[in-house]
């Protein structure tokens, strides 16, 4: 998945003057989205920070044609737009740009529906691991142990593995990405855009406000998530599951940085006990052994969407 930076358009898809907080991962991700998809993208944005980042009417910082929509209707609105473009013979890539809440919680039924129907859309979950727009409440993608304003003593449940759930929908394309690895993200966007049918990319997006770290550390924290193995980059495509190059070194557990390096930078994990940290370490190990197994099965030619379903 080599990517030549010179081939990436230098046109700006996020104009100066957006309303994002300093160090915002969503604004960063949107820039990469513009670089990858250019003028063909039409954005569907359910409620969340990215609805606010655009700024105030009559101005809009997004240089994409953009439809804001009610919280639960990202995938369904996009499905209708894609259907219309198809019958009207218009060339467009319909992209849903939704938060973890809009994706994994309130929007989950419409997401699952669009995936099962294989609607021709590219769905991106911008995962900052909580409802940030309403002031940092837990979502089903908030990790174990994290403080939020609805989990004052730390969340007691693990993050749900949404990318695997999406693979079990037997869609043509699922990938994870990170705002710290733009080459990987852009390449995945481009690949996804070339496929007809339902595509899902789960973008890890550390938020300085909600996670309580300094605004100049967004990329650093995102990178540590990969280096500690907390977040794993992979791609599921043509029925094949493969761990992506930035994450490959960490198949070897000894290469992973201690997770504490990731956790200690973030105020949301301040209350963790030793036990909690052990639980998180075990979560990382479990996740990895699972992904490595999936890659192995997939190399043996197995349809892993079926295997996941049966687990």
């Amino acid at each position: 998945m080599a990517l030549n930076v010179r081939l990436v358009p230098d046109k700006k898809y996020i104009r100066p003057g957006d309303a994002a907080c300093p160090g915002c991962p969503e604004a960063l991700g949107l820039r990469y989205l513009g670089m990858a998809l250019g003028d063909k993208a039409v954005l569907v944005v359910p409620a969340g920070c990215s609805a606010v980042i655009q700024g105030i009417i009559p101005r809009n910082a997004f240089h994409f044609p953009t439809v804001n929509i009610v919280f639960a209707a990202g995938a369904s609105t996009a499905a209708g737009m894609a259907a219309a473009y198809e019958v009207l013979g218009k060339d467009a890539i319909v992209v849903v740009w939704a938060g973890d809440g809009g994706t994994a919680d309130i929007g989950f039924a419409s997401l699952s529906g669009a995936a099962e129907r294989n609607d021709n859309i590219l769905y991106i979950c911008v995962d900052n691991e909580a409802y940030m727009n309403t002031g940092i409440q837990r979502s089903s993608l908030t990790p174990y142990g994290a403080w939020t304003t609805t989990t004052w003593t730390g969340k007691k449940e693990h993050k749900k593995d949404l990318p695997l759930i999406m693979i079990s929908h037997k869609v043509p394309y699922v990938a994870t990405a990170s705002i710290a690895y733009p080459h990987d993200f852009i390449a995945k966007l481009k690949r996804a855009a070339s496929i007809k049918g339902f595509k899902y990319i789960h973008l890890h997006a550390p938020c300085p406000v909600g996670w309580k770290f300094d605004a100049d550390k967004t990329v650093h924290v995102a990178k540590l998530a990969i280096e500690t193995g907390m977040w794993v980059l992979f791609e599921y495509y043509n029925g094949r599951f493969s761990i992506s190059p930035p994450s490959r070194p960490y198949i070897d557990k000894s290469k992973r940085k201690p997770v504490i390096e990731y956790l200690k930078l973030q105020g949301r994990f301040r209350g963790l006990s030793k036990d909690d940290i052990e639980r998180i370490e075990k979560y990382i190990d479990d996740t990895w052994s699972w992904y490595v197994l999936l890659e192995k099965w997939s190399n043996m030619g197995k349809d892993i969407s079926r295997l996941i379903e049966r687990q």
């Binding site: 439809v67 929509i69 369904s76």
Partner: protein
Amino acid sequence: MVVLPLTGNYAVAWAVKRARVKVIAAYPITPQTTIVEKLSEMVENGELDAKMIRVESEHSALAAVYGAAIAGARAFTATSSHGLLYMHEVLWWVSASRVPLVMAIVTRAIGPPWNIWTDHSDLLDQRDTGWIISMAESNQEAFDLTLQAFKITEDDRVNLPMIVGLDAFILSHTTAPVDVLEQEDVDRWLPERKQLYVIDPNNRFSLGNIASPKDYMMFRYDIEKAMDNARRVILEVDREYGKVFGREYGGLVECYKCSDAKYTVVAMGAWAGDAKEAIDILRDNGYAVGVLRIRFIRPLPVNEILNYLSGMKGVIVLDRSVSFGAGGQLFTEVSSILASRGRPPAMKGVIAGLGGVDVSYSEIKDIVLKFINEVEDQGWFIKRQEWFMPYEYSFKDYG
């Protein structure tokens, strides 16, 4: 003229086909289901060149057709009762996006307890959403309204979505002859889709990001203006349709023998037909009575109600729904309009037929006769709520 025996639901599906709708999305709910089944069949056998999105909920159904509509396609959905309530937030989003879109509502009671029969609570729960809301009396009118809805919503003075209501089972599942017109004639009458804006890669348009309170209020004012324009457009389309196809209904209301009446019954939907029969019997017995049938509850037919009703001796309003703690919605609206012009006629609001309780023309005759006698005996009064109760067929009063 192409007359076919059709249920109300199939009549709606035929109108959708005649309008050459491009995208349909819907979710099954009794009694709306047969609309979607018929449309699926039409799409699958190539009769209708459209995409059918078989969504996983009504929330998604309306969001999907909304997406199709802003992307430039003529789009349609249909639902009932709980499905409509599940869509509710999207209704607001659609109208404030000022995008033409048409939806059929087969009116059905709301649970619990579960009840699949007609009343108008689901429809009237949408009064404030910024949709144009109409209600048919017959299968033919369901067809005509659905077809007209595309022209009304796409008129550049309007750009608002529209609901076509029809009563569960009484229309939806009852067969009657329906003139579905010739396709060429419809094509000549209904232009290609027009809309304020289209969102696609060639139209860098943004919709719905945050507005200042002042701008927000201006947008709201524009919707009210468009609703007002819709009054004129509905009338124009009705007249033009009458000229071209021979059926004209009167615009926002239909006056049935109400011009020379002293007493008038106000009703909406299929049972207005029963009210007409009741009135005919009363007329035969020497009573000067008429029916004012509400065809559109939004925009509210303010002038029509004033013009037809303010000179009446008595007005009785039949509501097939109730706003708990206030009374029947039609009564509330009609009485407030009449009260705006001096002393209104004697008035009574009757709540009947909830959850599909059958109300026959002879019962309506009795209800109206009782009202006339009360006014003649006691003189002027206003009674906001009287329930016509099943089982004992008696009346119960609430202030």
